[in-house]
Point group: C2
Chain length 415, copies 2
């Protein structure tokens, strides 16, 4: 019998209780042990059929030597961080679904876990029910990972899918997502890309062994994407997705990391990841591109990943020493503008023909795009691949010389 405590009883916490109950027998068969949630930490009591497990004082859990695994599903850095740290220090294993905690404190908590021969596992923090953390760490261990690119946020992917497939505006698609419960009342963390940012930080930290903090990442959300951009993207067989991506420079031991909307070719495996689904593409030197796809959020998918980690800790209570990353050296994250890529540009101009000619001269071989209902004073094109900083300079000059007013600017990525 293994006794665990669940910290938090929101969406994920109640999901964990449900999964442990629903699949109790098959989990017992897989672990050879019965797993029992002895406590659930809540802020206040209410009626569920296991409310005798509710406690409001974390110390009850911390002081109980019977509890060997603490499941933290409260979210936020405080007090989650304090509880997780105290649990590890007192010799308990920890599982968390808390991406913010891992993104901000992962290096420190992994170090404490290692020093106390305990595990700090967080499969649910990225990709919900999609197995990604463990495969990245173990199954791809023969590879040196060079790049990761992912659709890491289901809310924004739902909104963009509605904009692409049903020509909705951003505002209408967001309102629909809110009505369906896919987006929160305050959707900032999703639509501004902060949620995706935490997840790409965790993936980058794990894959490359050096901690990356969310504030080190350039982040751009999807609030400025319009149906016009979607239509032009279609003209070059592309879709617009919110992508968290990171590229490693092996020679210099640096990375470029960014979250931004991006044009992806419809041939890309990521392009067909629609609605609330997530997809994560990992590029390894040996195995090439591998992609993981599934439900990136939601009560049960996330609980599935949490319980898988609990099972892992039941089977391996001692520290998995290789699941670890360290503090990064200075200048490890370099300016994202050093990346080489192509821009999609949409602009209002005085003279379309003249502006197109100027664009051709300044950017080189551009691909002119068109759309149904395109106004006479609008142009859109793709630039050739260039270092992004150079593209910025050229774009500034282009606007001034061609009398162009920028209406849309989206990166094009090659995944």
């Amino acid at each position: 019998m293994v006794k665990i405590a669940v910290l938090g009883h929101g969406v994920v916490g109640s999901g964990v209780m449900e999964v442990l109950k629903k699949n109790q027998k098959s989990i017992e068969r897989k672990t050879g042990q019965t797993i029992e949630a002895k406590y659930v930490l809540v802020r206040h009591d209410y009626d569920v059929d296991y409310k005798e497990k509710f406690v409001q004082d974390f110390d009850v859990i911390l002081q109980d030597p019977e509890v060997s695994i603490v499941v933290e599903v409260m979210g936020g850095v405080h007090p989650a961080y304090d509880y997780v740290k105290a649990s590890l220090l007192s010799g308990k294993n920890v599982v968390t679904s808390n991406k913010e905690l891992v993104a901000v404190k992962g290096n420190e908590l992994l170090k404490i876990a290692r020093e106390h021969n305990r595990n700090f596992l967080f499969e649910a923090s990225v990709g919900g029910g999609i197995p990604i953390i463990h495969p990245l760490h173990a199954c791809l261990a023969a590879n040196q990972i060079s790049e990761i690119a992912g659709i890491l946020n289901g809310t924004t992917n739902f909104i963009l899918t509605k904009m692409i497939k049903e020509q909705m505006s951003f505002e209408d698609a967001l309102a629909l997502a809110q009505r369906l419960g896919y987006a929160e009342k305050d959707p900032t963390a999703d639509v501004e890309g902060f949620d995706a940012c935490r997840k790409i930080c965790i993936l980058a930290s794990l894959a490359f062994g050096r901690h990356v903090y969310p504030q080190q990442v350039e982040v751009e959300g999807i609030t400025r994407i319009t149906p016009e951009d979607v239509a032009y993207a279609e003209d070059c067989d592309s879709v617009i997705k919110l992508i968290g991506w990171v590229k490693r420079n092996f020679e210099e031991n640096t990375i470029v990391i960014r979250v931004c909307p991006a044009l992806l070719s419809t041939d890309s495996q990521l392009a067909s990841v629609d609605d609330v689904f997530n997809g994560i593409l990992v590029r390894g030197d040996i195995t090439g591109d591998v992609m993981f796809y599934g439900k990136g959020a939601g009560k049960l998918p996330t609980a599935s990943a949490v319980v898988a980690d609990v099972i892992e800790e039941v089977k391996n209570p001692e520290n998995i020493a290789t699941m670890y990353w360290e503090d990064a050296p200075d200048h490890y994250v370099v300016d994202a503008k050093t990346a080489v890529l192509s821009y999609y540009v949409r602009a209002k101009v005085l003279d379309t023909k003249r502006a197109t000619e100027i664009a051709e001269k300044m950017f080189g071989e551009i691909t002119v795009l068109s759309r149904k209902g395109q106004p006479e004073d609008e142009i859109a094109f793709l630039t050739p691949e260039t270092v992004e900083r150079t593209l910025d300079d050229t774009l500034a000059k282009f606007q001034s010389i061609a009398d162009a007013k920028l209406l849309g600017l989206i990166r094009r990525l090659d995944y």
Copy 2:
């Protein structure tokens, strides 16, 4: 220092040697150990820069207590089976990429491994470089898996992709695959579905805990698929893929398992798995659909999976007791014709209008399909979903009553 022996030096064996050398440092960092291939078992000597490792007598490896891990990449059941069994019996851990061996002898070898507290790992046997065996076993452990469906053979997927995207005939696409080295001179194992069959057997055995033998599976290859079928599929927004699939009946503790070409909606994640890539969709009760995508074959992708298993065994030399399945009870695999599905039917008829009316009467609500260049005496349609055995009966009657000569018959699957 961990010493291993590699049995076989074909495509995969030489790939394993290459990966161990190329990523030696990063593997050392991940395991805290140096991994050295002490022996490579070959049939005859030839010139490579590590030919001092070549041995032709397996007993040299078996008798050497320094060798703690045996990597079997010879293929075929004999003598691979004898070598693997002897290795496990003498206390060595084993890694294999040999799908035939696992599909035919998995239950026996896993039992020996367990009894001798050793591991028998086979990540590379399905999906090449795609992490699937371990995620299915560990990361989805909180789930009860209900279905698995996969594009498990890169050669046939390449051929079908060429037929779909470039309107090639089967024969031309096969010839191209052979020229490019994707298909063997004798392509039987691929195009007749035998390779995919071994792989779905392994996945079914692992996911449901009961051994399924290849000869228990109904297998149909892609040799009868024509460009006409591809064109009709397009008319109902579908593509034709070779799918290995298995469905579990929880109540009766039985499974339905089959390998066959199938129409899949273009909305399906599997539909966009093209060329030599593989995709495996796993349906769990908690996490819903999860898909794994990547290169399903080839020297380095397969070697990547083999070396990942070696790393796993270096980290966990003792038996992972839960990676295990047992012999199946009688009648565990039930007649695949009990599945409920829809048929795509193409037939030559005397009178199109009359035949369509008869089809409507006999099958129920059919979806009539059309294609460019459709001859006047040809009809094609989709039947409603029905138990397959009933569909067979109706189809036989339809042919006789409507004077129809069957030209094409493909299952439609809902993944």
